[in-house]
Symmetry: C2
Subunit: 259 residues, 2 copies
Amino acid sequence: MNTVAIAGVGLIGGSFALALRKAGFQGTIIGVSSPATVQKALSLGVIDEAMPLAEAVSAADLVYLAQPISQILETLDVLDTDALVTDAGSTKAVICDRARRLKRFVGGHPMAGKESRGVEHADADLFRGRPYVLTMHEPQLETWIARFGARLVILDPAHHDQQVAFASHLPQLLSTALAGILAGKEQVAGPAAADLTRLALSPYDIWRDIFATNAEPIDAALRDFIARLEQVRKQLRSSELELVFSQAADAARALRRFR
Amino acid sequence: MNTVAIAGVGLIGGSFALALRKAGFQGTIIGVSSPATVQKALSLGVIDEAMPLAEAVSAADLVYLAQPISQILETLDVLDTDALVTDAGSTKAVICDRARRLKRFVGGHPMAGKESRGVEHADADLFRGRPYVLTMHEPQLETWIARFGARLVILDPAHHDQQVAFASHLPQLLSTALAGILAGKEQVAGPAAADLTRLALSPYDIWRDIFATNAEPIDAALRDFIARLEQVRKQLRSSELELVFSQAADAARALRRFR
């Protein structure tokens, strides 16, 4: 691997570049982004060169799409390359489907982030200790993921989308719905309310594409959750909730052990 | 006020004693608790004396009930005093109703806590900056609450129970239900899932009494929340969620400003 083209040099694309360098990549990293971002990325030493997409891709052995999902979809439509292509979008089925005309595409989802976005917050260790999903095995990508210190998870696109609908999109919607319902009830709100409404501070812009490309699995997760709440309503006056609490505490501990 | 009797010298009762001292109370503080707790409280200097309930109450100008709710209810049934009585239970309607035979009772709910319980974690500043609910105005209690640096909130029992059903009991049940639904989906769980399942680690024992004494308002909060989730399901494929997100973010920020 001599040349990597990164489309979208923000937090994730920039961190991928820095992580590659830290992991020993000696080749050229080409950035494809807006003029302002490219300028920042060059001056921070995150990328070596900047080029328009077609030019960057024709020079690259690996193309890394780290744009918002809707832009990844647009890029996939114009991409013409035999090089290995992967992406960092947070939903996978729509993207992988759109990439079918490419010879060598593997969907990816590095499950890492920060509250601050932009290449200026890029971090060579962003992926360390975090899950990195690939939609199928790909030896070259797996080697780099291992060198990043990330935890490889292989999941087919539909399964990935279903899992993140539960583990990531559902928590966001619960937090948003709870914050909405607590409007005007601030006077007795304590740490519990603060904990559960932190995600509700997230801006909508990253969520637009997620809802547009994962509506069905999210709807299924919401239906499932509503069914659980209906069950809790029935159990409120019984001792069955003791078991529900203890199983939930076990599950919450398991989540923490896994991380 | 010369003598205060505190029934239940755990985290809250012990912190009330220490907060009184710090606020300049010069009188005697009598603890009523299990032999082991009373021993710890005496050796830590949290209380001055230990007595059985009846004896402590007959000596006291103020009786502070900081036991679990079910014990508060039992104590109220045997209490025989003209002194001012207040409590620290996290639901108010059932307690205030049970206290009707007392001459001078004001329900209370200091909305403060810690992950660690017990008198050894008692803290003179536990109430500082936190809401302290009284079910009606009472000048003497209000003076101490102000000296503790707590934020006085006057709410009648029914209104209190309805507000905490939303702001405290609903978040707990959402967290518990979410942790339960994420069992077996650990591999892609990130910070969002961790944030929202922290409360699910809480032990059931403090919740048993809360559900037993606040089932109706909690059920109403759950119904209300489920209705919101059903609305979110309808909005998943529309742009309406953008407004829902921005209103939720405003509400989440308001919650934080209030604290």
